[in-house]
Chain length 286, copies 2
C-alpha cells in the first residue's frame, strides 16, 4: 500500500495510474502536480487526484512514491527541479517511452537519489490524451517494462513492481538498450511510417479523395497517426540512435522491395510477404 503517491503530470497515463491504484485500494492519498490549469482542474473534478499542488516541493512532501508522467521533452527539467526536494527512501519512477534518455537525465540530475530511481514504461495507451481520457483499466493485462539500474535499491524496485501489479499489469525487467531498440521497431518506427504516409498523401493533394477510397485496413494501419504530435516528436528525439539505425535499415529494405517490383520478381515479393505473415500470425493467433 502506497500511503501517499505523487503524480507529476496528470494526463492519460498518470491519471489512469492514479485511478487504477484508487480502484485497487492500493493508495492512500494522491497528490497531483500539473502545470496546465485546465488539466489540473479536470483531474481534481474527476477525482483522479485528491489534492493539486502548484509548488513542486509541496507536491513531493511526504510522498512514498513519485511518478514522472510528463512528456519525454519535459523530463530533464523536472528531474532537476525536484532533486532538492527528494528524501532518502522516496521511490521515484517514470513512464517514459524511451529509457536511455530519461536515465541519462536522472543520472545527471538526481545525484545520490539515483539509487531510489526505477525507470519504467507501461506499454499501454490510446491515441487520445489528457486526464479526461484516463481510465482505471488502462494497464490491466498490459505489460510494464522496468529497466532497473545497477545501483537501484532492491526495495525501490520491489515497490514499483508492486504498484504495477496492483493495477493488473505484468511487469518485465529488461535492459535500457534492449528496451529502446525493441520499442524503436514495434512502436516508434511504425508511428513514423503512419504519420509520413498520411502527410505524403496530403502533400500530393488528393488526400480526402484518396481516403474516400480507403478500406478498413487503412483505417487500422493509420490509427496511430492520430496520436499526439508533440509526444511523438519527443520520442523520436529521445530515441535518436536506435531509431535512425532502424529507419535507414527500413529504407534499404524498401528499396529492395522496389527493385523486386521493378524487375517483376514475384517470387521475392511472395517470400517476404509470406515470412511476415507467418511471424505475425504466430504472434497474434486468431
Amino acid at each position: 500500500m502506497i500511503r501517499r503517491l505523487c503524480i507529476l503530470g496528470v494526463g492519460l497515463i498518470g491519471g489512469s495510474l492514479a485511478l487504477a491504484l484508487k480502484q485497487a485500494k492500493g493508495v492512500g492519498e494522491v497528490v497531483g502536480y500539473e502545470r496546465d490549469p485546465i488539466a489540473r482542474d479536470k483531474a481534481l473534478s474527476l477525482g483522479i487526484i485528491d489534492r493539486a499542488e502548484l509548488d513542486l516541493a509541496e507536491a513531493l512532501r511526504g510522498a512514498d512514491v513519485v511518478v514522472l508522467a510528463v512528456p519525454l521533452g519535459a523530463m530533464e527539467e523536472l528531474l532537476q527541479a525536484m532533486a532538492p526536494s527528494l528524501k532518502p527512501g522516496m521511490v521515484v519512477t517514470d513512464v517514459g517511452s524511451v529509457k536511455g534518455s530519461v536515465v541519462a537525465s536522472a543520472r545527471a540530475k538526481l545525484g545520490e537519489y539515483i539509487v531510489d530511481f526505477v525507470p519504467g514504461h507501461p506499454i499501454a495507451g490510446t491515441e487520445r490524451n489528457g486526464p479526461e481520457a484516463a481510465f482505471a483499466d488502462l494497464f490491466c493485462l498490459h505489460k510494464v517494462l522496468l529497466t532497473p539500474l545497477p545501483e537501484s535499491r532492491a526495495v525501490a524496485v520491489r515497490m514499483v513492481r508492486m504498484m504495477w501489479h496492483q493495477v493488473g499489469a505484468e511487469v518485465i525487467e529488461t535492459s535500457i538498450s534492449h528496451h529502446d531498440r525493441m520499442l524503436a521497431g514495434t512502436s516508434h518506427l511504425p508511428h513514423i511510417l503512419a504519420y509520413t504516409l498520411i502527410d505524403m498523401l496530403a502533400k500530393l493533394g488528393e488526400t480526402q479523395e484518396a481516403l474516400q477510397f480507403a478500406a478498413g485496413g487503412f483505417r487500422d494501419f493509420s490509427r496511430i497517426a492520430s496520436s499526439d504530435p508533440s509526444v511523438w516528436r519527443d520520442i523520436c528525439l529521445a530515441n535518436k540512435e536506435p531509431l535512425l539505425a532502424l529507419l535507414e535499415r527500413f529504407r534499404t529494405e524498401l528499396h529492395g522491395i522496389g527493385e523486386a517490383i521493378h524487375r517483376g520478381d514475384g517470387a521475392k515479393l511472395a517470400e517476404i510477404f509470406a515470412r511476415a505473415k507467418a511471424v505475425r500470425d504466430t504472434h497474434y493467433k486468431r
Copy 2:
C-alpha cells in the same frame, strides 16, 4: 434481377458476392468455376454456388453476368480462355484491386466483347480468404469503384451498378489511372510497409521478443501483414508504375524525417506529425 450469374473464382470476394445476391433475391442461379477442388466443394456445401462446372465454356453458358474473381495474376489467362465462349450482351466484370493491368488484358483478349466488359473493384475484404471466409454482408455500406471504358455499353454499366447496389454497396465511377494511383497510396503501399516492417524485425532476429513488447497500436498497424502473400504479390506486380513512383517518394519523405531527427529538428517533426493527425482526424471523425 440476374437470372444466371457465373462466378469465376469462388473465394472471399466471389463467394461473398454470390451469398449477398442470393440474400437480396437479386439472382436466380449461381454457377461457379473454381480450379481448387477443396474450395469448389466448400462453395457447394456452403450453398454459395448452386452448381459447379469444371469446364469454362459450360460455366459461362447462358450467364447474364460473369464476374472474374480470381487473383490478378490469373486474370489474363482466364480472359483468353473465356473469350471464345462469350456471347453478345453477356456482361463481364471483375473485382481486381488494380484496374490498368486487367483492362490491358481485357483489351488484348476479349476482342469485340470488350464493349460488354465493365472493370470493377469492391473496396472490401478481410485478411482472411477462401469461400469459408465469405459472408453476405461483406459489401454492405462499402464502396465499389467502377472504371468503365469509353466503349463500354451503357446497358452493361447499368447492369453492374445494379448488381452492386443490390448487395448494399455504394458505386462510384472513376478513371483507371486515378483508381490505380489512389489505391497505391491507401492500400498497396501500406501493405508493403506493414509486410516489410515485420520481415525486417524478423531478420533482426528478435521478432518474438519485440512483439512481446508491442502495444495495441502495432497490432492494428500490422493487421494487413496477415493478408494473403500471393494476392499482394500480384497486386504489386500489376500496379508497378504508380506503386514504384509512390514508394520512391515515400523513401524520400522518410529520409527527410531521418534528417530532422538527426539534427534534432523537433519543430519539423511536430509539423509533419500534426499535419498528418489533422488529415486523419478530419476523415475519421471519432
